[in-house]
């Protein structure tokens, strides 16, 4: 089984330097694209590969790029921005790539910037990822010294400056328009769409924002072709996926597997199943903002369409496992605390609604729940749903709550009826 994203990563070892990376074929995609392909051809190859965004939303990457204005008339400069603000609770895949193979990230930026004809690129890294930022900065400096960055790269006429921006916290920075606002030196407030960033993004210029894992596929697509990339997958979405599992499983971790690998294989084979003495109650398949799946869903293929059909989202593909010795209401209280705290405060339903759900969940968990509470929670899953708020933050927060109310109804009712938490006594 091929693992293009992680083939250079050796756990516990420092990443390849530029000489080592070149020895295993590194920067060949830059050479190939700049010497033999037009930007449009690179974009078309990525469209044909059926690569979809790995940051959570799953938008087709090549299509995203195709909305960028091209040619002489396009506003300049254009920007490519890497979203390395990995902060979705339960998600630990981009850090693996940034720390484990920083030259792959840098090469991915160069090829992708060439595709959208961007002359400036930023890698937006969350502040806590200091090791990742150091390693990517070193890789970028090595690449610049070797002529892969800067003016007239490899005498192709293409020029690119790459900067690493380290952030200072706040989950909302991962929302692509809030990220642009943050990168401009502001409080990270999302922007209305349209205009979409491809038309008017960073400083009002055409900008593309892509996730780390998404872009790290691009050099491999260029080297090996779209057909090869589609063949890596078990389903309709191309490539591999870094899946992960955390919680009370025997071997928590992250694994690069074919896109569309069944949930059961990830949980039982790679994560080793539940820890002894623990049983599966449910799981969030792709981070905190995805809805619960249960043991009934273990045969679902972990690709975008299949997980959606099962009533959730693939999200980041790193699952959080709820066991039978953990209170589901406590877990939801923890999740809604996170979302309430991380609301940017810009729109009222999100700013006021999320703390309301947190307070009700805390009351239910501590035995102070009342009869009407579940109806109020259900009202919030409607009123904070998609299209009711300025960005997708609150709708994401409602995904585990809405599904949790369905799957764990009996637990909610028991808390309220007995005025206590069965897991606390």
């Amino acid at each position: 089984m091929e693992c293009p994203l992680t083939s250079n990563i050796r756990r516990g070892q420092p990443p390849l330097d530029i000489a080592g990376y070149e020895r295993v074929g590194g920067y060949q995609a830059v050479r190939k694209a700049l010497a033999t392909m037009s930007p449009e051809a690179v974009t078309q190859e990525v469209i044909d590969s059926k690569l979809r965004g790995r940051g959570g939303a799953g938008f087709p990457t090549g299509q995203k790029w195709s909305f960028v204005p091209r040619g002489e008339a396009a506003p300049r400069p254009k920007y490519l921005i890497v979203n390395a603000d990995e902060m979705e609770p339960g998600t630990f895949k981009d850090r693996l790539l940034l720390e484990g193979d920083p030259h792959l990230m840098v090469e991915a930026v160069i090829v992708s910037a060439y595709a959208v004809e961007a002359e400036v690129a930023y890698i937006f890294i969350r502040g806590e990822y200091r090791l990742a930022a150091e390693r990517v900065e070193r890789a970028a400096a090595e690449a610049a010294a070797r002529g892969y960055l800067g003016r007239n790269i490899l005498k192709s006429g293409f020029s690119l400056d790459l900067h690493v921006h380290t952030s200072a916290g706040r989950y909302i920075c991962g929302e692509e328009t809030a990220l642009l606002t943050a990168l401009e030196g502001n409080r990270a407030i999302p922007r209305a769409k349209p205009p979409f960033p491809q038309a008017a993004g960073l400083w009002g210029r055409p900008s593309v924002v892509n996730n780390v894992e998404t872009l790290c596929n691009v050099p491999h697509i260029i080297n090996r072709g779209a057909e090869w990339f589609r063949g890596l997958s078990l389903g309709p979405d191309g490539g591999t996926k870094i899946y992960g599992a955390s919680g009370r499983v025997k071997r928590p971790g992250a694994w690069e597997l074919p896109m569309g690998t069944p949930l059961r294989e990830i949980l039982e084979q790679h994560a080793g199943g539940m820890c002894d003495g623990y049983a599966l109650r449910g799981l969030l398949p792709g981070g905190a903002s995805t809805g619960f799946l249960t043991a009934d869903h273990l045969d679902v293929a972990m690709d975008f369409g299949s997980v959606e059909k099962a009533g959730s989202r693939l999200g980041t593909g790193t699952m959080i496992v709820l066991d039978d010795r953990t209170c589901p209401i406590g877990m939801l209280r923890n999740l809604e605390h996170f979302f309430a705290q991380e609301s940017c405060g810009w729109c009222t339903p999100c700013r006021d609604g999320l703390p309301w759900t947190e307070r009700i969940l805390a009351a239910i968990e501590s035995g102070e729940g009342e009869d009407g509470d579940l109806a109020v929670l259900e009202m919030h899953t409607q009123c904070l749903g998609m299209g009711k708020t300025f960005c997708a933050h609150a709708p994401g927060a409602m995904a585990p709550l809405e599904s949790g109310l369905r799957h764990f109804r009996g637990d909610f009712e028991r808390h309220i009826r007995t005025k206590s938490c069965p897991w606390r006594t």
Binding site: G90, F92, T166, A168, G169, G185, R187, R248, A288, F338
Partner: protein, 171 residues
């Protein structure tokens, strides 16, 4: 906010470093978050005086800069201890025992979350998911990430910090 450091000036190296940072962006303002972090790295936190000294270098008013500084949880507008402990309270770490570890830390340090020990050695803060969920529960002490935490490991890490301080004092 603090009234200390009202006449704070930035060191010439700091000013030069901020000017270098600014060149990475379309305008000076865009460097403000990294500029705040740079000054914080040298002084542990951003006093009112340093905020006022910093603002004109970034073409911002002090109020504008404070609006940004107070939005981001890793910019400290109040003094913090020599070591900042960031204990992850997100969902995977919560499932794996965050609450007991928080109690342990609060007892060991004699402070609650958000506070600094009386000797100025440790500040304890919550942090969102650190992307170390396969080694939950996790926390950072200053720049270092630590996983697979239990009470014994936390004690060892705190002692290592205390050791580092003692060695520093002995020099």
């Amino acid at each position: 906010m603090s009234t200390a450091d009202d006449d704070a000036r930035l060191a010439p190296e700091e000013v030069r470093a901020i000017e270098t940072l600014s060149r990475q962006y379309e305008n000076k303002r865009a460097a403000c978050i990294e500029a705040l972090k740079l000054v914080q790295r040298n002084h542990r936190w951003i006093s009112d005086g340093r905020l006022r000294a910093l603002a004109p270098l970034l073409d911002m008013t002090p109020d504008e800069l404070d609006g940004v500084a107070t939005f981001y949880n890793l910019i400290f507008r109040r003094p913090v201890g020599r070591h900042v402990i960031l204990l992850c309270d997100s969902v995977s770490c919560w499932i794996m025992g965050h609450d007991a570890l928080l109690q342990h830390l609060e007892r060991r340090l004699g402070i609650r979350r958000g506070e600094t020990t009386a000797d100025g050695r440790f500040t304890l803060l919550p942090i969102v998911c650190l992307g170390h969920c396969d080694h939950a529960p996790a926390m950072m002490i200053d720049d270092a990430l630590h996983g697979d935490l239990d009470a014994a490991r936390i004690d060892a890490l705190l002692n290592a910090c205390r050791g580092a301080v003692l060695r520093w004092n002995a020099r």
